[in-house]
Symmetry: C2
Subunit: 361 residues, 2 copies
């Protein structure tokens, strides 16, 4: 067993507090990683506070992890001690279903879905299964800790040229926006709108702009207008500013909503071209305002997209390194994590808090 230290919540109403626990020694296919930096994702907050009604406690969040390999199981071939590596939202999947065999583990249809980096299997076992799931554990502890142990197939290589602390948010915020840009075929000259300009939104802008798309940012925060333009937006507007949005009617090939909470989309549909899609990645709630008097008249779609595959995660890391892209991060001490949660909820992050795990002593 490996003695581990982390920050976790004991209940939905608890603050995150230091806790000690043990991790299993690595299996032959697993890698032990000393965590250097972990990004703070809005979903960490949703999960800690049980806002998705599925949290297993204690909850040690963290799924934007960068660290160094300290030890490898006997069958590991792709990594060695000292390698700079990353871990995102998944640490295993069923490896047998059609999506897994197609390299889309993030849509794993195995009996327990994929194994999340924290909070355990995406599909918990039921009483009918005697409470047993294929991963043999009901909970997992994430990267708000000094050590993680992960199967090598779910470990990413951090390419040279990426600052380790800035690489961390690419592992969730990056790939969650990269995957739909990729899947919906955004290319050079396409017109893309990014709704919500936080951790995910600012990465979506940087990625889409680097692909060659013309990117418009719609934010709820007037002060972010100029920041978005500085980061490469062709235009940026406050989403509620109807006067500015009216001329944008029918102009976007893709709209990507990164808003992390329930968000009415009726106005956004007016901005889509014929046969275009609004893809929602930020919010896992019911999407209000899906008005078929708008959709049908231009054969539009509203779709969802969930993080990205391991291959896409490696792609986006490599793309960021090749194109000099990195999230805007602010490094924090883990002792300040509860304040950071509050600031994320208040939209004060610019644009991603990353925990320096050296402060966990």
């Amino acid at each position: 067993m490996i003695k581990t230290v982390g920050y976790g919540a004991q209940a939905a109403t608890s603050k995150l507090e230091r806790m000690e626990f043990e991790r299993d020694d690595p299996k032959p296919n697993e890698v032990v990683i000393d965590v250097l930096f972990t990004g703070v994702c809005h979903s960490d907050i949703h999960q800690v506070k049980n806002e998705w009604k599925n949290t297993v406690y204690p909850c040690v969040p963290g799924h934007e992890i960068v660290g160094r390999v300290s030890r490898t199981g006997g069958e590991v071939t792709r990594f060695k001690e000292g390698d700079l590596v990353g871990v995102g939202c998944m640490i295993d999947s069923c490896r047998q279903c059609e999506p897994c065999e197609s390299g889309e583990e993030n849509y794993c249809e195995g009996p327990n879905g994929w194994l999340a980096t924290y909070n355990g299997p995406m599909v918990p076992a039921t009483e009918a299964d005697n409470g047993e799931n294929m991963y043999g554990r009901d909970n997992t502890f994430g990267g708000y800790s000094n050590i993680v142990v992960v199967p090598e197939d779910f470990v990413l290589a951090i390419p040279d040229g990426l600052d380790p602390k800035a690489a961390a948010p690419i592992l969730c915020a990056g790939v969650t926006t990269w995957s739909p840009l990729n899947h919906w075929g955004v290319g050079k000259g396409d017109s893309v709108a990014i709704v919500g300009f936080g951790g995910l939104g600012h990465m979506a802008l940087k990625l889409a702009a680097a692909i060659g798309a013309e990117v418009t940012v719609l934010t709820s925060t007037p002060e972010k207008i100029e920041e978005a333009k500085r980061m490469g937006a062709h235009a940026a507007f406050v989403e509620t500013d109807k006067t500015s949005l009216t001329p944008l009617a029918g102009s976007f090939d893709l709209i990507l909503s990164t808003v992390p909470d329930k968000h009415e989309v009726g106005t956004l549909l007016d901005l889509l071209k014929r046969d275009a899609s609004l893809v929602v990645v930020g919010n896992l709630d019911v999407i209000d305002g899906v008005d078929n008097s708008k959709l049908a008249f231009h054969r539009q779609s509203v779709a969802g997209s969930l993080i990205g595959s391991i291959a896409e995660t490696q792609d986006v890391l490599d793309f960021c390194a090749s194109n000099g892209i990195a999230p805007d991060v602010e490094v924090i001490d883990i002792k300040d994590i509860n304040d950071a949660f509050t600031r994320v909820e208040n939209g004060e992050a610019r644009y991603r808090y990353v925990i320096d795990m050296a402060t966990l002593t």
Copy 2:
């Protein structure tokens, strides 16, 4: 001017009553058609009762029209006197926008949209346009009348082998379901669910089955279960029967909702495969239950689709003739039209009422 007789409503609360009016003589590109049969579409009822808040009165509905050419303008080349022809939902479009140039007039983005067979332009002129629209008329009168005058480009040829009265509903109910089956690429062996089993739904079943898809029907009416199987359904269930639907989770490549009223779709999303779409054609209201905790986990879409193009309308007429497909129709006297409306609203039609226009004397 051409003296015409039809049935129309003077206000949202009026019954349809016999009325006389005049149509313009045919322009050089127009065809005069003596109407034989007109189908009764649920949207006729929505429109007459102003349920879409855009009805222009008097309202003479009817957009599933089969008749014989009685006269042609001097430039008409495709039709001659005596030809059996059809007219669907559109009688003109801007002919200049990108969709029109791509042969998708049903998504016309011209300043006034397409010109509907009744109720005038889809996008009425505003005060800013001095109330003038490109078609020069604020209202049009449809096929609940003895004569229509239509530009030849919007006239369909009724192929040999189609019974004229059964051909009528193909012009809306047929193409409205054919177009999404075509656009979303349904092919042999695909698994398709049809939700709602009325005028549109029963045509969707016949078309999808003839394409070679395995079709499941979900209806609100238990008595329709056996009828759906008789028409070629692989399976049919009452939509609220959760016990039957649970095993269908994740099993459909496409779900086509033909339900003509506001309809919650949350349960339907559970039945889609990964990357599959729910396409709503029956209801032009807000779609409730678009739950991104379902969509995102399998990258699904909810989309709308609006009737079909002129080319698709000809395709589906020809497909029906080639494959021996026809709607199940009940021919009615025009004097019974108000009763027929009530029966359609009560789900009593089996499956499309078609008015014999010879009864309009």
